[in-house]
């Protein structure tokens, strides 16, 4: 990376390499490639939707790692339902 690239605010390629490595390793270690995680997400949404109305577009499922513990983190916002709104009002 040269001076001008840095002026334009581009990130050092080593940082990009590190971020990519971290992501790829978290998937390797869990033996769950990104494509399978997507499939898992679809299944999860289908299952949950049978019980509760969720805001499908905002669902976020990711693998994280701290120390030796791997974690599947799911953030599943509920759809703003008419019933609940009625109850609140």
């Amino acid at each position: 990376m040269n001076f001008f690239e840095r002026l334009r605010g581009e990130r050092p390629s080593a940082q990009t390499a590190k971020d990519r490595l971290q992501l790829v390793l978290v998937h390797d270690r869990a033996d769950l490639p990104p494509g399978k995680l997507e499939a898992l997400k679809d299944d999860l949404i289908a299952t949950l939707s049978r019980h509760i109305e969720i805001d499908v577009r905002k669902v976020n499922i990711s693998l994280t790692q701290d120390r030796h513990q791997q974690r599947l983190v799911a953030d599943i916002p509920l759809a703003p339902s008419r019933a609940r709104r009625r109850g609140a009002g």
Binding site: M1, A17, V24, R67
Partner: protein
Amino acid sequence: MTARIATITSGKGGVGKTTATANLGVALASAGFRVVCIDGDIGLRNLDVVMGLENRIVYDLVDIIEGRCKLRQALIKDKRLSDLYLIPAAQTRDKTAVSPQDMIRVVKDLKPDFDWVLIDSPAGIERGFRNAVAPADLVLIVTNPEVSAVRDADRIIGLVEAEEKGPPKLIVNRVKPEMVKRGDMLSTGDILDVLAIELIGVVPEDEIVTVATNQGSPAALDPRSRAGKAFREIARRMNGEDVPFESLESKDGFFGRISRMVRPGGA
């Protein structure tokens, strides 16, 4: 004497295992240890040329295993160092000619006569790797500062840990300090941040390694070689010496992270 057994391995090929084995052999033997290097890359014999001993080969590892020669007959004495020996790989056979038990047996017979047995492993996670790692009590994993090589190192670390050999140690090879400073190459600190492993050495990219390989005279014999110096330091750490890590890279890129050198966990 009872030798310690160190296997030099990697996930990705071409990262510098053979170079490291030859140089650590030279460094340890120069320091007065009796050393034998075993080329475990059956079918892709290389350690002999890197050590400059290719013209002296009569018997090889598979000859020992299959009983065509005595162990001593396959031991090739180094040209320069009286305490350094090589057992070459067979060139015309494949990895299935050797089993992990064979390796354990050969190494057991070598143990009383040496201080160190170094085993140059083939890359990958197959039979050749298992053969090379079977007799080890210390596993050194070589990587380069690249995404692909570090990723593959992580795989190997997992496999070595499963074998209960004690924690493997990392050699980061072919580091270009200028590129690290510019932010265009992963620093050793970056690599240690993502791999759960202890560092044993950082070896710079060094043209002398190429010349040394051309000549069959490992860089660790050349006092001008920066890579050679790094290998000599690794050899001292292998013997338990507390050799401080010099900063090859920018201060904040490497020195700043030295306190985090031993990381219990990954990313």
